[in-house]
């Protein structure tokens, strides 16, 4: 009988709505994360409500393993996958142009292709634009050339993400933003509260129904490593323009003190995330973007590895080729920010800020 009742192919949003309405009549999972308390505000779910819930969800999978209604039960709930599909859909729908997001979110090979193009471009640049003077890697590409290439490559994608977030805010009905909302969102992201499982023992990512904190640990290594590397670059800029202190920098300088540990953390974090992703059940996420997600993690790992290698190769003939490879990976990351998994950080923060701005969830009667 259940076969006859199987609805025709639902869109990601329709399927999520079907599942969330069943979910909202149960509420056993309220303690796992922010999604379930947020759900109790509604009895009916508009598309924007589902977009918001989907971007609040960190895919910890606690609710899947605790659920009485997963397949083979006829309700066939798989909330982590349903919300993952809506989440990726929202990143694609709100991106501009959408086609680029659909391409790079889904296909790891597209990202690899972009990397090949970037590599070719930088090897050409190193050959064609090599300055007559300069120390360290500025001997290969002048500081002004680097700035001229990377500042727009960083700022333009950020501007596109800004436009997406504006649309997101409208879609989910976000209210006026207060500093307290932003602080609460950053606090949550800084500690990855929503991957704690509610009990602090982590999520159900790579070991079935057993809890593990590995995903939170590796993600934070990667994220804080990335932020340290970003701070390293920023500190270099400040030293360069503010103090006239130009690269190469010694080990005991802000760019190196920040960048070397940052690179090592990124490398460890990305290696861990790759390992977890290979062990985790793909069907509890958005299956169609598995390749795109994996390519994104590998890209971050490649940035860290080539950055560290570049430092290690100081003064050798390898600096030139390593510089080209490193710059190419960074360039692909920057240009694809609005179209790759990188965008999840921006949407996640927006969702956390929007959630912080909503009234505290009120319980239903019984």
């Amino acid at each position: 009988m259940s076969l006859d009742l199987t609805p025709p192919q639902l869109s990601a949003t329709e399927e999520a709505r079907r599942q969330i309405e069943i979910c909202n009549a149960c509420r056993y999972c309220e303690g796992f994360c922010a999604v379930f308390p947020a759900m109790t505000r509604e009895r009916a779910f508009a598309d924007g409500d589902l977009t918001q819930l989907a971007n609040l969800c960190h895919n910890c999978r606690g609710c899947y393993y605790a659920c009485q209604y997963t397949a083979p039960h006829e309700f066939a709930l798989n909330i982590p996958a349903a919300l993952a599909e809506v989440r990726v859909d929202s990143w694609e729908r709100l991106a501009r142009p959408q086609a680029l997001a659909r391409l790079f979110q889904t296909h790891g090979v597209a990202m690899a292709g972009a990397l090949v193009v970037a590599l070719a471009a930088f090897f050409w640049a190193l050959a064609a634009l090599r300055p007559e003077t300069g120390a360290g890697f500025y001997a290969y590409l002048a500081h002004n050339t680097l700035v001229a290439i990377f500042v727009p490559a960083f700022l333009l994608p950020l501007a596109l993400i800004g436009l997406s977030l504006r649309d997101y805010w409208r879609e989910v009905g976000g209210g006026r933003v207060r500093l307290s909302h932003v602080l609460r969102a950053f606090d949550s992201a800084a500690r990855m509260k929503n991957l704690s499982g509610g009990h602090g023992e982590g999520c159900n990512f790579e070991e079935g129904d057993r809890f593990s904190d590995r995903r939170r640990v590796f993600h934070q290594l990667m994220m804080y490593g990335f932020l340290l590397c970003f701070a390293s670059t920023a500190s270099g800029t400040v030293l360069h323009y503010g103090f006239g202190w130009e690269a190469p920098y010694p080990l005991l300088s802000p760019p190196k003190i920040l960048g070397v540990p940052g690179g090592v953390m990124m490398l460890a974090g990305t290696a861990g995330l790759v390992w977890l992703k290979l062990r985790a059940t793909a069907a509890l996420g958005a299956v169609r973007v598995w390749g795109g997600e994996m390519a994104f993690i590998l890209l971050l790992g490649a940035i860290a590895a080539t950055g560290l290698a570049l430092y290690g190769a100081s003064g050798t003939a390898l600096v030139g080729p390593l510089l080209a490879v490193h710059l190419a990976t960074v360039m692909v990351l920057f240009l694809l920010m609005p179209f790759s998994k990188m965008v999840h950080g921006f949407f996640r923060l927006a969702a956390l800020v929007a959630e912080a701005g909503k009234p505290a969830p009120a319980g239903g009667g019984e």
Binding site: E21, Y28, C29, P37, G364, G365
Partner: protein
Amino acid sequence: MKDWPETFDLAVVGGGNAALCAAITAAEAGASVLVLEGAPAPYRGGNSRHTRNFRCMHRGPMFPLTGAYEEEEYLHDLMLVTKGKTDEGLARLAIRSSEECLPWMQAHGVRFQPSLSGTLSLSRTNAFFLGGGKALVNAYYNTAADLGVKIAYDAQVSHVHLDGDRIAWAEAEIAGHPVTVQARAFVLASGGFQADLDWLARAWGPAARNFLIRGTPYNRGVVLRDMLDQGADSVGDPTQCHAVAIDGRAPKYDGGIVTRLDCVPFSIVVNRNGDRFYDEGEDVWPKRYAIWGRLVAAQPDQVGYALIDAKSIDLFMPSVFPPVKADTIEGLAAQMNLDPQAVRRTVDGFNAACRPGPFHPTELDGLRTEGLEIAKTNWARPLDTPPFYGYQLRPGVTFTYLGLKVDARAQVHTAAGPIRNLWAAGEIMAGSILGQGYLAGFGMTIGTVFGRIAGKEAAAHVA
């Protein structure tokens, strides 16, 4: 028939909360343990997978419980629902032991959360499992596996062979293959018989075929029947089951918590003929939901219809299926296959009997009808604001009362005395304590307390 290759110290029949508490306790005491779970792995855990909390005695605040809940109050609450149909000695044992169970549960992987939204009334008495009963079941299966307990899924025990005052072996079918299980001790924790509709129909009458079964389809009482046939002492009314009124569109089995409907106090409820049959506003819903299964079961075709108007639709927990909706009472009745004129007359009569006054959805507001043969004594507001909504109600069976009589060591007896190597825990013996009615979270208390006792006794027996 094939013999299981090894002889275990303990074989546990069943795979829910009580079974796992017994298996874990025995394994920690050094026993080799086999768990025979009748369901396939995705449905493991019996009715425990549908539970959500544990009623726990405590003398002061103790996470996640607030305040204190002492033995006498707990027992008083039990006496109220069972109307004295309980073995007070066993009841006090369950209540007293519940306090030490909470830390034991945490030490074995169960995690708790503050009271769920809509259940604040239980925050003092009931500890809610983080993620619900299936999360608890998962934690116990992991703990058991780490202790070396062997788990056989899809293992349906058909016969537990009584030879004198001992159980000699058990016959089971594991994944379709007949197997004889040898063990030095046995614990029966295989639940009640509520999923066997034929048995229900014999006990209750043919109307039982229209009942929905809220929990697992695997609790068919095969081992219970087998033990009763071999002369085991029984307890509990064999004709009774605990039923609540649930959404009539729920699956036949395993609909669980989401099929509940909390709308009755804000509705009028009519039967197949369009007539009201009971005071919908007699008391707050947590104190009344348990009687509505029986009330609906007594109506023609075992069905009721709760009718609500737009004023009240947001006053209760969301339903799993959307309500039937119409702009007129007649339209609503027609959509629910009721006689529109009959329903119209009932609603008109009810509306005319309503009196103005303050309405308080969360407390007994005394807003009652006047002059009706069947009064509504609280929350009586006319159904006058479209759109109108309707839910079909059917009895949903939660558990049955007939079980094995046990003593304070959870041991099973025959007229000749105790069966030396047989213990029982959980729903299969809960009738000893819960002779009538139900107290939220008490099934898990009985299962945990007697599961642990059974495991300890069985391990001591084989040591």
